[in-house]
Amino acid sequence: MALLERTFFSLTSKLNFKGMRHILIPDTPTIVIPVRGAKQKYHPDSFIGFRVEPRENHNRQYVSHPLIYKDADPAPRFMDARVRAILKDLTGCDHSKVFRHRALLSISAPEIVFFTDEQLKIAQNDAKIKADKLLSMPPVVKVRAEEVQDISFDPALQGIMPNFKIVFTDISLGIPDNKRIIVVRENSGKLRHANGAERQRMNEIYNPRKGRKHYVSELFTAKCLPDVLARGQYEFVLDRACLQFEPDEPEYQSVVAYVYEALDKKQHYDSLLSTRHYGPMLFFLVWHKCLNNFLEHHLMAGRLDVASQVVKLYCLLHQKSDVAKAMTDFRDPMHVVQTFVSLECMDTSARVQLALKQCKELLRSQQQVEQNVAAALGQSS
């Protein structure tokens, strides 16, 4: 009992009113900002109270890549009907790949229905429209401008918000994300429009999209992306990038360029055939003039028509280049490719020239075989 009493007294003596005061309120003065209904105590140097500590995923960085569309605007060229026709033609439309089962979608047993000829025609037409929709290409546009517009500057407001700024977002209904009013008031009294990153963050908070992450996914970091690409999951990464970013974000263009480069190095172009990413990938290679691997791959396989189409695309995108000036007639694919190789690939890659040579030999031997077969069947050409 005596012990209990002693401890009790010692505790009370420690917790007297003066001591409490001393513990709770430090000597430094606090400032009360009188926003009625929102009274907060601020320390002049730092915010006292809750502070959100950055988690690990706040420090992550997206992969960076120099080949983003930052100088000239590719959008008018990409929207050109001739360019789109070539891209769509080369993408192909293999229905078994376009309509394959996706892992994330719910799995249902296939339904077997008997059709008349007319019904079959209608169903095929529907499937074609559906496939076109699934194969619509993500837009290729110039990267967004980073400079922000100032609205006003009021020096009398200086210091009103120590160590923070206020971001105001208009959440009126029916306004698309890119036209939403988002402004920032800074401590200096400046009112400005939000920059790209802030806009993207606010849009995500007030208008969230399904499947988007509000933090940097580890998939898009330099730590994980090479491993995923080494496994050949190009389409997976590109689909995720389309979901996560807007097309004019530098992060999107960096991630996508990183994937295209990895794919180009390994010549895995066929993995994107019959997907919506083939067109932008080809556009990227042609726009940035890194066609050596692509041409080599297709010439080695004897696909001269693909190579000649790509050269045609090159002429459309680089109209001031030597090739575009020299090229007048696109009818003979061999002539087209030869001109391109002699003008553009002369110094850069001997492998393309070798591939062209092999392609020629391949075609000649094929022709020989055809002639022999015809002769054996008794047909004279």
Partner: protein, 134 residues
Amino acid sequence: MPVLATGGAPIYNSLKAIRLMRHGCANRPFYHIVIMGSRRSNKGTYPVIEQLGTYDPLTNVHGEKLVSVNLDRISYWMAQDKVKIAVGVKQLLGLMGFLHIHPQSYITAWRVRAIAKREALSKQQAEDQEASMG
């Protein structure tokens, strides 16, 4: 008859106020910008006529406080009779550039600057004293 945004609570033709209503929980304030009968308390869960926005007074990792305002609806309510706007909301709308800057914002800014100045001065004096002692 269509159900009102109040969830069926009656709206009387009395003075209304656009103000901040405290939500969130203990030690974690979060405010809704609402329009409600001006005699209602903004501290309890009283029915509001309409929510017009939000205000998060705690800074996030990027050092920002977030305010969202439905400007369409705020303009609509400001055009109605018998609607007053609370000082807190007026300050926020002023800082946003939607209204004129509220005088209270200038007073606050001036006070913060004055205190910072005073602090710097006292710090300087203390340092001088220490130097002279040492």
